[in-house]
Symmetry: C2
Subunit: 345 residues, 2 copies
């Protein structure tokens, strides 16, 4: 087996913690001795030990002279857990293969340097694109300070926006359910409170942010409150929210624009957000104006529903006028709809 | 190798004649003796011999006791060429494996019956879906009498119609170039005379049908005339067309609707048509109203261009109000755009 094989296994392990590691990245680690995997681990949750610790624990004495594969550069600083570089050095591994350098300025390349200094052979950049994709939100936040934002919407074949998601998109394994499992928060319009929770087993539910500008009062459906982990109502003036619940809080933000909302998301500890567009004339429209030009959106996830429906009048709201090219396009058919993903360049 | 393997080879051979066989179907034939291919053939062009004739000619005496694979039921009638069933019987093949029964009422199952009567073992329906897909236009025309119509258009990521096709779509191997290679005719608006010829090497160029309603005169670009095999200008009243050319003819149709145009396409001998939508307000819009409800469109080919462009005002023209579901969706990324294909149910 080549290095790529073990690195892909690291990424597979890392993804077991999907939705649970924020604000930390997802990381997987595999210890290989004489062509056999002798230890595996992943970072399960912020505050808990890193991937390397679990893998080394499983490998025990076999880690000596082994190769450690890790999808992200091992940390070299004392955070909530001791540095992983020291654990690898103590375990006397011979080689460390790293997927990508940590973009976190307090880690960046320092882990690699520390390992090299101690005589360990270090290889960097194996399956690098895959490792970057795994933590695209974390990398973005480290580089810019802002949460990673994905804009999600559904179009009909004739280009209208649809508030109906495709068949089973909300169900376990559906793209929408998996998307919400992955992201820290979801932003929706108060005019359109559809189902916005993940159906994946044991998923960490995203914080729900409901935009309620130009509204004096908002009645939350019981299902929204029950299914959410926490709900934040953001409006441009004081608003009456019913029914009251411990889970629900309100926040006034002026001016109410995506930029100012994202600043508050940072304050709320959110590293990644789904902006869910369901209707043209929802309260969310004014909030989004210009967000593409301002570089506030990183990714688009577009469901093209296989319907031709001219009875619907709604088109996508304006989020930016300038021509923007999306790159790294991907598309696939899922549950009878076409899903398109692209990155805002 | 199993039957499916040889049948897929038949389809591969058949497609060598793409764009040349209309109004006949594309057909491929393979003769297999003792696990080896001893003869191959395909129907190259209407009026020329059928696939079986070429394959049997290549196999010679080896055809005796061999198995013949053919993607479409062999004909049993005297057309422009003698019946293929007789050729297979004379060659003393032991078995004939047929992809699908011919939907042509003067053939349908009669070829299979004739072979069985003469003591040949006949298997029907191997890789049947693939064989049907190969000749979807032919099958549709045989079943309904109407040409097979594909509606093609490009959308931006924000749901606007775009007159710009993606990078290299027109070039050899591009989806648009390949689409035009396959179809007998292309219908475009006289307001939007973009490049509408195939760039595939040696492609049979589609007949160009230009819709010019509400126009008194039409000036054809020299490039359109030079690149087309033949141009038909269809309008609702007499129209002056410049410059004059042997290739160009005019035709007045009232009322000018897709239904009446397709009737004339039948008269022109066209079995399959691309309706190419480039602008909302082109002359084609009025012509298309209601065409989905009337069942005049069989397939949609939609290019989703990776741009977000709100400077464009145009949306897709209205072609049918009722909600229509598209089935058998396929999608893939090609030359940086997403291509979606679906069938009108």
């Amino acid at each position: 087996m080549d290095d790529g094989f073990y690195m892909r296994r690291c990424v597979e392990l890392a993804r077991k913690a999907i939705g649970f590691t924020s604000p930390n990245p997802m990381v997987g680690c595999v210890i290989v001795k004489d062509g056999e995997i002798v230890g595996e681990g992943f970072h399960p949750k912020a505050g808990q030990p890193h991937a390397e610790v679990f893998a080394l624990r499983e490998a025990g004495n076999l880690a000596e002279n082994a190769t450690a594969y890790v999808s992200l550069e091992p940390c070299n600083h004392h955070g909530r857990t001791p540095p992983c570089t020291e654990a690898l050095i103590r375990a006397k591994v011979k080689q460390v293969v790293v997927g990508m350098v940590d973009p976190n300025p307090i880690v960046a390349s320092k882990g690699v340097e520390r390992l090299k200094e101690s005589g360990i052979d270090v290889v960097v950049g194996v399956e690098e694109l895959l490792c970057q994709k795994l933590n695209e939100a974390y990398i973005h936040r480290m580089r810019t300070g802002n949460p990673f934002v994905v804009l999600r919407y559904s179009l009909t074949m004739n280009g209208r926006i649809s508030s109906h998601l495709g068949k089973a998109a909300h169900e376990p394994g559906g793209y929408y359910s998996k998307l919400l499992q992955e992201y820290d928060g979801i932003l929706v319009s108060g005019d359109c409170l559809s189902r916005t929770t993940s159906a994946e087993t044991g998923a960490n539910q995203p914080l729900q942010i409901i935009i309620a500008n130009n509204m004096n009062s908002l009645h939350l459906p019981i299902t929204t409150i029950e299914s959410a982990s926490r709900v934040v109502i953001i409006s441009d003036k004081e608003i009456e929210v019913k029914p009251s619940s411990e889970k629900v809080e309100t926040m006034v933000i002026k001016p109410l624009k995506l930029k100012t909302i994202l600043d508050h998301c940072r304050y709320l500890g959110l590293c990644s957000i789904v902006v869910d567009l369901r209707e043209e004339h929802g309260a969310i429209t004014e909030v989004l104006g210009g967000c593409l030009e301002e570089g506030l959106v990183q990714k688009a996830v577009v469901e093209v529903c296989p319907v031709w429906d001219e009875s619907r009048e709604e088109y996508l709201p304006s989020v930016g006028v300038e021509t923007r090219i999306l790159k790294d396009l991907r598309s696939y058919v899922t549950n009878g709809s076409v899903l398109i993903e692209g990155y805002v360049s």
